[in-house]
Symmetry: C2
Subunit: 255 residues, 2 copies
């Protein structure tokens, strides 16, 4: 089998998530199906850096594709994109995988972006790509409260019950909240995240933006180590995986 | 009848265009249907600043809605948005129409934006919102050639055969082409445009970006006053109406 590294983009709306499931179309399944059109004998397999949930988007998901065929990477990219139609999955770049590279275990950092459309009018052009919140949120208060969460902590309060990570201790490198016109954009960076962690952080910061919670209440929720102490889970459609980093970095070829 | 000014946003993908047609759903038809849920006796009517074609989007289309009911503008906005679901049309702002205001005839300027996704990989997140062109275009050459078209000219070469304007002479105030990462963004501003004018300008500038045409060839195409002398019509999905201006300006209330 030949190992390829892919950088892919997808609109999460039509998928049950990254991972293959019995019911519904997964990103993994659609990608493996497209790759199987190119395979000779063996079924191709795809492994991703982050197993995004149903409805969550990716601008830059890193994937290792194993395929029993030796193809120039640019041809592989174009052939996969051809066979992926009409799925909203796009292979942005392909290359021969570096030696000993694993998209998930070799990753040193992940970045997610969460978009809130914060205005009375619902989205039209961006429907399915943002969380629409009618009433004005205080982005500065959200940003200040977010700083309480940065650093190494036990994030049990922000972890889905289904989370399979061995430890709830994670290091949040960055959690920035900024207003850009009528959007509130939240950027979260960490070496790795717990299941639903970003959406649970966003659902909690929303309470701060509404003035219902302050930074101390967020600190208390973190200290409680109890999912019930934090805010609700924000919906998936505002979330996108925007970068995965490796050391040494991967020099993707976009030409 | 009460006259309201609306600022609306829509995703053109699902519509036959702004204007009501026998077959298919128009933006005008969907908006009038939503307004009819609020009407008492008379059928509401909607008139727009620009009659966008099938597939063309709007971020800021100005509309006059006539309705036989006196409603606070914020309530009208929210009620229309409620009844517009699941259409991808959003009323961003509503107000009592200024005296003697006509959305089309009072407009002093229009701005359109055309987005080209210029990379080998097709769009996923932005599918339906960009024109995908695989091979690299020279945005600087496109911008320079575009300047030949700025000013008052007979734009017969860039006018659809179906165009109903009395004169082909228009004043193009601005035609800027800029590369932003893997996108080429074209912004066109004029007091008013001919039918298909922006898409025909973009289809011609694409030939310049590919190196097939130079600025002189664009000047020759303009001088020919013959549609066959210019380039093909760019597809609708990259185009959006992004602003309509009035004098005095309208102070839309987005709160």
């Amino acid at each position: 089998m030949y190992q390829y590294a892919l950088l892919i983009e997808y609109h999460g709306g039509g998928f049950v998530g990254w991972q293959w499931q019995q019911d519904g179309v997964s990103v993994q399944g659609a990608l493996e199906d497209a790759a199987s059109k190119l395979a000779q004998n063996e079924a191709p397999t795809a492994v991703a850096a982050g197993r995004t949930d149903a409805g969550v988007h990716a601008e830059a998901q890193a994937v290792m594709l194993e395929l029993d065929r030796n193809l120039p990477p640019g041809k592989l990219r174009d052939a996969l994109n051809f066979h992926l139609r009409p799925h909203l999955i796009s292979v942005r770049a392909a290359m021969i995988a570096p030696d000993d590279w694993h998209p998930r275990f070799s990753a040193t950092g992940r970045a997610y972006r969460y978009r809130i459309l914060n205005r009375p009018a619902p989205p039209a052009m961006d429907a399915g790509l943002v969380w629409h919140l009618h009433h004005e949120l205080d982005a500065d208060a959200m940003h200040q409260a977010a700083q309480v969460l940065v650093g190494q902590h036990d994030f049990t309060s922000f972890r889905a019950s289904s989370c399979q990570a061995k430890s709830p201790v994670k290091t949040l490198s960055r959690l920035d909240v900024m207003r850009i016109a009528d959007e509130i954009v939240i950027r979260a960076e960490a070496p790795s995240f717990l299941h639903h962690q970003v959406r649970n952080l966003v659902g909690t910061l929303k309470l701060v933006g509404e003035g219902k919670w302050n930074a101390q209440r967020v600190a208390d929720a973190l200290a409680a180590r109890d999912r019930a102490a934090a805010g609700p889970t924000a919906p998936p459609e505002g979330l996108a995986l925007v970068s995965v980093t490796y050391d040494p970095p991967i020099n993707w070829d976009f030409t």
